[in-house]
């Protein structure tokens, strides 16, 4: 039932918004992994980020996509929790607990089941179209599953269309740059540096107007 609702939601609402109201300009779509296990790592500016990334996949593949999302935010009430877990299919992440690496167990499990995990290493949307320092959780995942391809993706425009704290969607074209997959480099520091460099390269590909 919820899978049917998910298909319906993406077919009737998400895809039309992404393709008609916004308009996506995807560079190198062919680099998106067709099957898991894989991790899509993207910068985070808007609630639309997850939906638009998922909309890049055919409806039939939606159930393989698992965006990692903050449990404290998305599970704050029953309706939101139902929507987040059943319709979007998030992997809830406990941002507050001291539990350390165990928190990431559901993510590695999902990867073991061959799912495609979507992760925003900035941890929150923050100021729209401004990048924040990446958290190191992604490094733990990459280390635990060192054969999993990590696909860096840079997105621009969605933070303008629907920034944090706004409910009104204003149409803007969205640029999406898909980078080359890479994997665990051997240690955390070089891995995070590698991710940073790859993201910066993708971000520098675009020519973005000022927005302030």
């Amino acid at each position: 039932m919820s899978r049917f609702l998910q298909t319906l939601f993406f077919a009737l609402i998400v895809k039309p918004i992404a393709l008609v109201m916004l308009g996506l300009n995807v560079r190198r779509r062919n680099r998106l992994p067709g099957a898991g296990p894989a991790v899509l790592v993207a910068n985070h500016n808007s609630h639309l980020d997850t939906l638009v990334l998922m909309s890049l996949y055919p409806l039939g593949q939606l159930r393989w996509l698992r965006p990692v999302a903050a449990a404290d935010y998305f599970l704050r009430n029953r309706l939101s929790a139902w929507f987040a877990t059943k319709i979007i299919g998030i992997l809830p992440l406990d941002r507050t607990a001291e539990g350390g690496r165990n928190r990431l167990a559901p993510i590695t499990e999902a990867l073991e089941q061959g799912q495609i995990v979507i992760l925003f290493p900035e941890g929150s949307r923050g100021e729209p179209e401004k990048r924040e320092a990446f958290r190191t959780g992604i490094a733990h995942i990459a280390k635990a599953r060192s054969d999993t391809p990590i696909v860096p993706i840079f997105m621009y425009g969605l933070g303008k269309a629907l920034p944090r704290g706004e409910a009104l969607l204003v149409p803007f074209f969205c640029d999406i740059f898909v980078g080359k997959p890479f994997s665990w480099t051997g240690n955390r520091k070089t891995f995070m540096a590698e991710l940073e460099v790859r993201m910066n390269t993708l971000a520098n590909e675009g020519d973005f107007p000022e927005w302030e």
Binding site: G23, N25, P128, G157, K160, P163, E166, L168, V170, P171, F172, F173, D207, P209, E210, W211, E212
Partner: protein
């Protein structure tokens, strides 16, 4: 009752002519690829393929149903405005102002569909011109105010007001318009686009002297004149079937469209140069964005409209 009330015999012939031209273009491209395998014709093939798509969508949109035609033209305006607003620097504070700018599109095309000429002609130049700064002062951000209000209104004037003249052509039916409003629309759109192509081809083949090197280094005098001659000829040839223009009037229409198209193209080039980009988008493979395709129309649509409106309506 006819099934497709918009389609008249001359309109059908004109559309058939366009598809014959496209067949020729495809045949030429295939021949070039065969003859000179060492050269890369990817962009040319993409361009021709995009033309097929655009011509087919356009033919369906203006042939099937008038409401669909208005909706289609409004959607083209929307895409163009969205592209423009995505390319220019905007302020976060103006998100709601931009929302109002988008809302102007359905309203403006509604005036056109109702044939309310007075409202159609002042809504964006007067009312929206006053409304946008008013909405901006309600937000209260004064830094960059003049630039923001100026660029947004310029964008709406170009992509909505100017392009909406295409929609108003649709309702200029009269006993003297052999193919109805749809014929006038087809006339100006076809001549404008063909003029672009003719300028491009004659520029490639004969181009020597640059005509406006600071803005568009690829535009040449020879290209411009090639476009003018071709468009004049086609205008005189086609006008009797699609428009109420007399022969001498159709000569002037050809001049208006070829020079107007040239200027519109170069103006949008200046905007892109200012923004530091080459293409406005990538929605039309081989061409670029919507703005790259409708740049000439932003000039020719209002110029042709007011010319024919003054003479015959």
């Amino acid at each position: 009752m006819k099934v497709f009330p918009e389609i008249s015999v001359p309109l059908l012939w004109a559309m058939a002519g366009i598809f014959v031209l496209l067949l020729l273009a495809s045949a030429t491209t295939i021949t070039l690829v065969r003859l000179r395998p060492e050269r890369d014709f990817t962009e040319l093939s993409q361009r021709v393929r995009s033309w097929w798509v655009m011509a087919s969508v356009f033919a369906v949109a203006i042939g099937l149903d008038r409401r669909l035609s208005f909706f289609f033209l409004g959607f083209v305006s929307f895409l163009a405005l969205k592209e423009f607003l995505s390319l220019i620097p905007t302020r976060r504070a103006d998100r709601r102002v931009l929302f109002w700018a988008y809302l102007a599109i359905p309203v403006q095309f509604f005036w056109a569909s109702q044939a309310w000429y007075g409202m159609f002609i002042i809504f964006i130049p007067v009312y929206l011109f006053l409304l946008l700064p008013m909405r901006m002062i309600l937000v209260g951000e004064t830094e960059g105010f003049l630039k923001a209000v100026g660029t947004v209104h310029w964008g709406v004037m170009t992509t909505v007001f100017c392009l909406s003249h295409l929609a108003y052509l649709l309702i200029l039916d009269s006993a003297r318009t052999p193919a109805g409003g749809a014929g006038l629309l087809l006339f100006v759109v076809f001549l404008t686009q063909f003029n672009d192509v003719a300028q491009y081809i004659s520029g490639k083949l004969l181009g020597r002297r640059k005509v406006i090197p600071k803005v568009s280094p690829n535009k040449t005098v020879e290209g411009l004149l090639g476009g003018v001659v071709t468009t004049l000829g086609l205008s005189v040839l086609i006008a009797p079937f699609l428009t109420p223009l007399y022969r001498h009037e159709s000569l002037a229409a050809g001049l208006i469209i070829s020079f107007g198209g040239f200027v519109g193209d170069v103006v949008m080039s200046a905007v892109k140069r200012d923004l530091g980009i080459k293409h406005s988008g990538s929605i039309l493979p081989g061409h670029g964005g919507i703005l790259d395709r409708v740049d000439s129309l932003t000039f020719t649509a209002p110029l042709f409209f007011h010319y024919i409106y003054y003479l015959h309506y």
